[in-house]
Symmetry: D2
Subunit: 511 residues, 4 copies
Amino acid sequence: MSITASESVELKEKDILHSSRLGVFSSDAAEYTASIDIDVKLLSSVVAINSAHVIMLAERKILDRKIAGQILNALKQIPNDFEMKAELEDVHMNVEDYVISKIGNDSGGMMNLGKSRNDQVATAIRMALREDLILLAKSIVKLEKSLLVQSGKYSASVMPGYTHLQRGQPVTLGHHLLAHFDSLDRDFSRLVDCYLRTNLSPIGAGALSSTGFDIDRDRAAELLGFDSVLENSLDAVSSRDFATEAIYLCTQTMTDLSRLAEEIILWTTREFSFAEISDEFASTSSMMPQKKNAIVPEIFRAKTSQVLGDLTAAMGLMKSLPLSYNLDLQELTRNLWSAMDKAIVSISILSDVISELKFSVDNMMEAVKSDEFLFATELADYLVEKHHLSFREAHNRVGKLVRHVASNNSGRGQITTASPKVLSEILGVTIPAEELKLIFDPKLALQRRSAVGSPNPRLVKEAVKKRRESISKHEATINSLEDGISESRELLSSAANSIEKLGKGTGSLGR
Amino acid sequence: MSITASESVELKEKDILHSSRLGVFSSDAAEYTASIDIDVKLLSSVVAINSAHVIMLAERKILDRKIAGQILNALKQIPNDFEMKAELEDVHMNVEDYVISKIGNDSGGMMNLGKSRNDQVATAIRMALREDLILLAKSIVKLEKSLLVQSGKYSASVMPGYTHLQRGQPVTLGHHLLAHFDSLDRDFSRLVDCYLRTNLSPIGAGALSSTGFDIDRDRAAELLGFDSVLENSLDAVSSRDFATEAIYLCTQTMTDLSRLAEEIILWTTREFSFAEISDEFASTSSMMPQKKNAIVPEIFRAKTSQVLGDLTAAMGLMKSLPLSYNLDLQELTRNLWSAMDKAIVSISILSDVISELKFSVDNMMEAVKSDEFLFATELADYLVEKHHLSFREAHNRVGKLVRHVASNNSGRGQITTASPKVLSEILGVTIPAEELKLIFDPKLALQRRSAVGSPNPRLVKEAVKKRRESISKHEATINSLEDGISESRELLSSAANSIEKLGKGTGSLGR
Amino acid sequence: MSITASESVELKEKDILHSSRLGVFSSDAAEYTASIDIDVKLLSSVVAINSAHVIMLAERKILDRKIAGQILNALKQIPNDFEMKAELEDVHMNVEDYVISKIGNDSGGMMNLGKSRNDQVATAIRMALREDLILLAKSIVKLEKSLLVQSGKYSASVMPGYTHLQRGQPVTLGHHLLAHFDSLDRDFSRLVDCYLRTNLSPIGAGALSSTGFDIDRDRAAELLGFDSVLENSLDAVSSRDFATEAIYLCTQTMTDLSRLAEEIILWTTREFSFAEISDEFASTSSMMPQKKNAIVPEIFRAKTSQVLGDLTAAMGLMKSLPLSYNLDLQELTRNLWSAMDKAIVSISILSDVISELKFSVDNMMEAVKSDEFLFATELADYLVEKHHLSFREAHNRVGKLVRHVASNNSGRGQITTASPKVLSEILGVTIPAEELKLIFDPKLALQRRSAVGSPNPRLVKEAVKKRRESISKHEATINSLEDGISESRELLSSAANSIEKLGKGTGSLGR
Amino acid sequence: MSITASESVELKEKDILHSSRLGVFSSDAAEYTASIDIDVKLLSSVVAINSAHVIMLAERKILDRKIAGQILNALKQIPNDFEMKAELEDVHMNVEDYVISKIGNDSGGMMNLGKSRNDQVATAIRMALREDLILLAKSIVKLEKSLLVQSGKYSASVMPGYTHLQRGQPVTLGHHLLAHFDSLDRDFSRLVDCYLRTNLSPIGAGALSSTGFDIDRDRAAELLGFDSVLENSLDAVSSRDFATEAIYLCTQTMTDLSRLAEEIILWTTREFSFAEISDEFASTSSMMPQKKNAIVPEIFRAKTSQVLGDLTAAMGLMKSLPLSYNLDLQELTRNLWSAMDKAIVSISILSDVISELKFSVDNMMEAVKSDEFLFATELADYLVEKHHLSFREAHNRVGKLVRHVASNNSGRGQITTASPKVLSEILGVTIPAEELKLIFDPKLALQRRSAVGSPNPRLVKEAVKKRRESISKHEATINSLEDGISESRELLSSAANSIEKLGKGTGSLGR
């Protein structure tokens, strides 16, 4: 809703702020410096902050309860689709303009007594970020669940494990997916840390130096659901480390998951053929009719770089800014929402991709079986255990054997195709055929692994179970954060109602 | 304009591409991978490319002229406010869909014969970037003009020159502004280099491997105003170095100018009081009625970091991408336009700020006169010239003198307030009062400077004159680039008319 | 110490690893891929890890105690100035080579049974980072102390507070410095979070898939002072999020403090003259004898950007790396140490700069007194309180007054120099001279501020006191982390002694 | 060589600069702000600059020829292994200190008359960078040659061409390698542009304001081999855009080539098996004896990110720095050399890797033959050409056919295994078996491609030939740049000899 001319007759000039002190603002400059486009996200928080501030002023008797009641009532009427005017610079002045247009300057003009846009915007960003962090937490948990379902399903499915993208040793697919789970789980713990540093209240810090009125910052913080007050007034208006931490969090999480995205791209190539992406997340070519391209993980990969770009931008922007508030900070907010939006959406859709990914356990097993080199370590371990070679000696002998086989079989050779004579000569010991078979058996190799964190199917199953409990805890954490916000909303609403009620019965100026 | 259902009856499925080969595309994935929002910028180029391609196909008799004429006619009808459908993925499929809806699949379905979205999008981005580079060139020249006007006006105005933000030696304001001009002028030369590497034609490279039809890539390039063909088909569809170079160009230019923005912020502080920003580019505070904040240069500074963020994002995105096309490249385009838009607008408004900046030559001169330390080098030079001290000896003696004066006058001392006795003792020579006066005279100090590039007012005036010619050359360059584009548009239009005319008289299939 | 030829006769080849499996390694490639230069930092950790691993193997009876004892004894003999050979690639192979050269391949060749360079290097980096994080914590606490001493000293010293580098309202210097303290204190809390995610043990994860031997990862973790095991073997060898988090921590902390560095540069300009940097941290010019440049904060500023460069490098490097180990990870370590070193040293020296900074409280007070615009908010608040104007009305009237005064006095006007008539006309009320005086009194303005986090001298003193306690807690935290490391060293040493003792009395092979 | 105490008796204080003006410099600060470690690279340039400057001063009769001769003689004696003293801050003061220690302060103290460290360091960095750029140019040409040799060798070898890492259409290996050549060739053109903007002379700009002595900047520039003078004195000492451009150049080139590095990693996996890296550039595992890891391309990939980190650091460092010189600039030089070194070495070794890479043309051809989907576009084109379907219709029908085949053959199906009936039904036309065979023939598909830039073997051969000429031109360019530097060295040497000769016969002071 935009304010029509007739509603704002009390305003002598279009711009309630600019024109008393300064001359006409250039329209190019207005557009260049405007934040209206991103302020939409802050509207509900700005309304809540104004309400909390006015309630506190009335409770402290700094502001007449009747006026407070009028302001609170006007604030309530701001529609969800409130249309903000660009010439009023930002959400703060639009809300003040609306209130004044509703109840007049004598009352509405009191709303900003003892506070400033500087503390207000810092407070509003933190409130909006709280909600974004909760959305991000939910995206993470959603993906964790997808990973866990697949890990459980494939806890015993053998696949080649890689280092340097070269096949190393057999692992289980469930184990591989759990690696991504565990990495993502640390990002969840970072998110909780970040939330705690975000949920602090700057309101009452004023422009930079608080105010000469006897305000109660703790009460305002309580009404807005903050854990406590961000004390120092200069710090409160000029710090954005909570925002750069959130952008870092997005970058870390996206970067961690970009590795999974890359693997999906690799696994779904013809060459790997370990998985097929659902048609839902693939595209074809306008020219080549046969193409099925894993475009969602590609976009994920690209957005990871973009979020890193947001981090670079935000950090570079903060560097060397003298205290306290500078308008540079406004621009940082763009990078914050850009990073949060990208992370929330990307992680959620990656979860869908994982859920729908069709793994080809046959192809994976075939890759393991057709490549005995994957068992070279097992063979060396065998030489240590059975023939008491030192590990390094065993390693060297097996290395020579591999070199021999590889050079004779254009890189695709199988160790067991070497003649028993050659085997004995190079290894220095003779291994019975039936023992060789056991060494090259993938299931046995995995079962031999008994240490915690091994790809042994039994341990993978246990790990999945343990992580299910971890997810439950995360969900409880998210609920508790959401409850904190909900409760503060109820508290604010009921305090506002009290003031409105009291305001109707009295007319004395508080101070 | 959006296509109504009745117009697209020939399309059996909503999506002309996806559904033959693949099943249903997820709407989340469609939104996540869509480029419609940024493709608007490419629309006119995509239409031109389709036209040029079809003309070439007809000229080579690969495509029947009648069909070619129908396609060209349909392309012409695409309205400026063409509303693209998100479910069709991108601008390419929307344009094809429109043409097919107009003239049917038998004719319209021929438009993409022998080309792909991959070569088309690379071509379209280069065409759109050409125009953005011209806009950026104009912004740069605009700012150069503003700087030159002010440099000319203040060619003889004395101000303190700084190193380490400490006063060093007197310079002229005109000279200082010319430093920014010269720096910016190198960015102009970079822009021209970048344009040359941008204006190469990928069209005809197909999806990655060109086409089996006997196309003429040179002809298509000519019709689209390219300097030549970007040959290798894999390179043509998968390289984006022209785009990252453009983003670098924006970053370099903005970074260079962020130093001027910072100086405006410093100069307009109460402490410096060297300049006052026009009210047009300043804001006040919602709480502190006296404030006048130089917000445009602050936003400039912030956007500089954001453009660096775009560069980081784009470079990081390209790293390690195997050939040829990957959808990651689509996202890079966002960073390209983001950087170009920011640079074009920011530099233009900074030009306005400079034009309207009110310099206080009195305050600058007062700063010079009240700070004799600015002439310490002149004093040392005098000792070398008149008293044949070595420079290092002279430097040391003046250093001691400064230390003495500073320690006795709480940092604000004037050298000439030291007693003649002290002066003689520390310097080791006696300087007559009238000579001392000449040493500390700012105008004389500047006139003594005779080397090219000195702050001497006479040399500054000459430099301004020379740079006016440089600007004229830049304008000629810009005109020539614009003419190249205009001429290709006329060529394309006239070739299209020929085909359409011929097409009406014949029906023979070209190949 | 380098190994002489005679000591390593048992090694058949120069390179204990490469030559069995592969042919000759190019010396250019060796140099290009080497990590010896940065591995020095890992040496003591690598020795400790080998010891812990061998102890565990012996305790689990996987390794004969006699051999274990020999290895432990050889490891002990590695000198502090151990000279590593570049041709052996890295610290891991150098240590193994040393042990083998001391006790022969039969014993020494058992050291790497059941572990790999992949898990070992991940473990060693975490151990070295633990110590760097403690050094960083100490640097932070050192700077916090410097800030607190100065805050306490200047808790009542009035200075102009700034927004947009324009004077806003009076604050106290102590309050301003506390803003930096509080910001830095959040970085301390990030450090502790980062430490917890760092202090997890990858050892036992093997190359990627743990090992077929029945190892006890918890025991190895305990012997090395880790809080727990980093479970999943693929995750353990391929994740570096702990390292990127540490680099982020450095970036965040340096970026926060770069704002203080910038302020020191500004404050020590002739124009501000709020402070003088100690000669200890300043330089002069080779040409201009008078110069005194605040070069330490300049370098601090530059290093902040470099640490951000490390973060960009490290994050970009990790993007899209498939699991598990890739050699790219080795290079990340360079950025890790580069960032940690820069942060530790920079913050420590900034602490010295702060300690020695001479503030000119006279100049600061003079700046406040000579600029009545700083009290415009106080005047508006007065109009609200005494004359019941709405705040916005009061703000507008004072804005007009400022505009009037500024335009008549070339920007440096004082409000009280306006005639009483003009004052009354513009403000709409008449303010008695004695009340005006009180409004413009800086001490009173500060005393009026009663809310928590205000620049009120009384509150600043309280805040300083509270933060002293916070520092004590930080010191206790640091001590506790250090104790954890020390205790694990004793545990390791005593366990090694037990094995060595037992080893001397027995010869049975454990497995 | 370090100066012993007895040689520097004329120096009253250890530090020839600091102690006259300022008190004792902190040793921590000295270490923190020192540049000695990177100044080694500048030594020969600094000596040359001092020589050129002194020659010019003598020629202009500003400096007595005898003194000039003494200085030139002393400068000549500076040994290649000159050991610089950290307490003298940097290379500039070390050289001056050396000269003064040799010939006394009366003569040696004249060397810095009319110049400063600020213009000198800017000049020296440009001179050192010139040489690094030439080295980089040579590395690029070396790699271009390697690529060209392999392209020529494999101009007709068929391999699958990829988009989205999915197989698209057949290409030739020579064509694929040429794509990298062409991309790299644009980087060469960027290098030449960068060289032109680098080879400009700041010397004579002084500290910031040139000098009152009547110097000849053009002459100094000529003696140092610069193309011309970098005019504006403030710009000359404070701009580093030439350096950031060079870092960008490294980033762009490395990023372009990181795609080739990634492909080597992919091609050498067991899954692709398209190539084998030479043992020279591979490593094995300490645990897994079979491993052969392509570690050189991995390090290349990592260093690409690090160079981007250098770019971020350098750009961020320059942002918002007020003119003119600030010590931040010194730190930027670290990032410059870091990026140049990494790029020069990395590109050179990648050239070796390419030269030694063993391609498996059999495996590549097998991949093409076993995957008829690669010919889907050919089939669609056939339908257009022979059956006059529109391209979009043909595309859709082939798409359906592929979908059918894929769903019936677990993703690995061959089109020609479908029954003729099914083929006819889905395609709507019947294709004779012999024609089908021709459609799926890779050689024919490539021969059909006649447009410039196609993978047609004939065109690839032509392209290789053309690019050989391009390399010859690059080599001529490099020679010409090297000649320019050599000639200036001779000019400098001969001018120095003239002065020294004249100096011995005269003693008159020039000015």
